[in-house]
Structure formats: structure tokens, C-alpha cells
Symmetry: C2
Subunit: 197 residues, 2 copies
């Protein structure tokens, strides 16, 4: 069965955004990343304060917040709820590629979605981070690795807070790829998995 929508979750500096963009280009469908989804949330009326709060660290789970806070949900949770709504709206419009923001979990009930997770060894991500400017130059290797691991930890916390799944556990995704196999190969594998031929 062909998959119309593709969600991509990824470790930091795996080149996930570039892979997602190429997949979207090849399929001729729109591409939404975290920034675009956040922009849409801002346009929908969320305050700057709320957007800023949404980047704060989370502990526990959204269900617990819903249970204890009732209508007065923290701002960061309000942002994720609006973003989830935007993800569902875009997915309802037609085929697209969605990167980050727990899109896989938001769309978990749909059967026409391919869920992808990208990871790669630290060495590969370090090189890529330096090349793309996502990591600072002239910093010792151990510091770069700490930056990579800290960002992964943030992404895992965000995902584990807003979903009932565990970030990076294979069972929650249709396709998990080591991005160090090469960007072009990853694009081909995603297209094959999505189109089924």
C-alpha cells in the first residue's frame, strides 16, 4: 500500500531536514519542518511568550499535566496542542513530508503514513554538524559530542513527554535508518518504503 504522508524524526545533525526535503521534491509534495509548523502556530494566534516557552525542557508527561492542571495548561503544552492541530490539518489537505514535532504520534491513527527515524554515529554527525554550521567551529571534540548528546536528550524528552512512545525505539517506526549510509541512499530507501515498489 502506498503511503501518502511521511513523518521524519531524527537525531541532531543526521541531515534529516535535507533528506526530508529531497524526498518531498522527488514526490512533488509539500514539506513542513519544526520552524514552519511553529510559524503556523504563531499565525494562528499563539503569543511570542508561549512560543518561547514551548522550547523549555519538559519532565513527566502531557497526560499528567492535563490531569493536574486542567484548563490552565502550561504555555509549552498549549503550543504543542496547537501544533498538533496544524499537523493534522496539513495532513488532511493531502500528501506531505513532516519533520519533527511528534508528527508520527499525532498521526498515529492514520494507516497511510510512513514513519521514519534517522540516527547516525557521533562521528558522522560531528562532521555534518561542522559542515552545515549547526555545530560551532574551533571547539574540542568532546564538547561537540556533548552538544550532540544534549540536543538528542532534549528531543527524546520532548517526544517522551508528548507521546506514549519512546523516542528511537524501532518498534514505533516503519523505517529506521542509519543516515551515515549516505543521504542519497536514505532518500531512495524512504521512497521505496513509501511507494512500495
Amino acid at each position: 500500500m502506498k503511503k501518502k504522508i511521511i513523518t521524519i524524526s531524527r537525531e541532531f545533525c543526521t541531515g534529516g531536514q535535507a533528506i526530508a526535503q529531497k524526498v518531498a521534491e522527488e514526490m512533488g509534495i509539500p514539506f513542513y519542518d519544526k520552524e514552519l509548523i511553529t510559524l503556523a502556530a504563531r499565525e494562528s494566534g499563539l503569543s511570542e511568550e508561549a512560543i518561547a516557552a514551548s522550547e523549555k525542557k519538559r519532565t513527566g508527561s502531557l497526560l499528567y499535566s492535563l490531569y493536574t492542571m486542567g484548563a490552565d495548561l502550561p504555555l509549552n503544552d498549549q503550543v504543542q496542542i496547537v501544533q498538533s492541530k496544524i499537523i493534522r490539518q496539513e495532513a488532511a489537505k493531502g500528501p506531505c513530508v513532516l519533520v519533527g514535532r511528534c508528527a508520527d504520534y499525532v498521526l498515529r491513527e492514520r494507516t497511510d503514513v510512513l514513519h521514519v527515524f534517522l540516527h547516525a554515529p557521533l562521528e558522522y554527525r560531528r562532521a555534518r554538524g561542522l559542515e552545515t554550521g549547526l555545530l560551532p567551529q574551533d571547539v574540542e571534540q568532546s564538547k561537540l559530542d556533548s552538544l550532540l548528546q544534549r540536543e538528542d536528550k532534549n528531543r527524546a524528552s520532548y517526544y517522551n513527554y508528548y507521546t506514549e512512545n519512546r523516542w528511537g525505539h524501532a518498534e514505533h517506526y516503519d523505517l529506521c535508518l542509519d543516515a551515515s549510509m549516505g543521504q542519497d541512499l536514505c532518500v531512495k530507501l524512504i521512497l521505496l518504503a513509501a511507494c512500495g515498489e
Copy 2:
């Protein structure tokens, strides 16, 4: 870069063995599963008692056993050590597909090996298990699911005992696939990942 050897780890009743066999056929290379590796271990002189012991449950880690038991390793650990040697021997002979027995971890130092993990939802595995006779007929669904989960737990314990990795965590594999995407598609994806084109 082309991968000469493929290791396949899998949840119970994902059809991993059939997928591995098809991949081996397509590539025209030999295929070794748990039974064949165990047979080779038996032929290499391991006692029946040791082979039987190797199926027992494990807790802790092999490193801990090595540390505390020294030369008097439990029989099950001796079997895995012999099996690891056989896996390395077969891999040294040339291209092949290896299923189970922590082959991915045994061959972790080689860069020409593709490591695959197969998983699937319980519903899919239940149906497959009944179809192939790996699960008993005329048993209620919850009991079948318990059997699947118990076998997964055994495989995870085995893997987590003998390796420094965690079974089913995407980061340890090049390619993780939801086998419910279909056997033919899984074979194609593995071939594409292995051949890179």
C-alpha cells in the same frame, strides 16, 4: 559502499527467517540461522547438555560472568562463545546472511556488514504465527500475545546479556523495518540498503 554480509535480528513471528532466506537467494549467498549455528557448535564438540543450557534464561551480563566465574564459565556462556567464533568464521569465508545469535554484535568491528532489525505489531505477528504454526491454534488472543511478548523478552534478555547494546533500539542497526509493510517490500529494502543502488 556495498555490504557483503547481512545480519538480521527480529521479534518473534515477524517472518524474519523467510525474509532472510529470500535476501540470501536474491544475492546468491549462504544463509545461517540459529539452528545452523547451533548445529555447527554441536559439531565442534559442545555437549548436548551445554546446548540445552544455552537456551536458559539469562540475567546480568556476560562481562559480569567473565569477571566472577573466570575459567569456569556457565555452559550457556560457553555455547555463545563457540557460536560467536562460528559466526566470525563463516563471515570470514565470504558474503552471507546471518539470523539471530547476536551476529550483529559479534561482527560489530567490520564495516562491510549491514545490520537489520525486524519488528511488527502484535496483530500481524499473531496472524503470521498461526499461519506458520509457530503459535498454537485454538488458544485465546490474549494468551497468544503473551507468548509473543514472552519470546521477545527472551530474545531481548539474550541480546542484552551478551552485548553492550539494547535489543530493538534503532541506533544499533543500519536498518529497522516494520515487517507488516510486507515481506517482498522488506526484501527489496534490505537489498537496496546492502547494494546501495
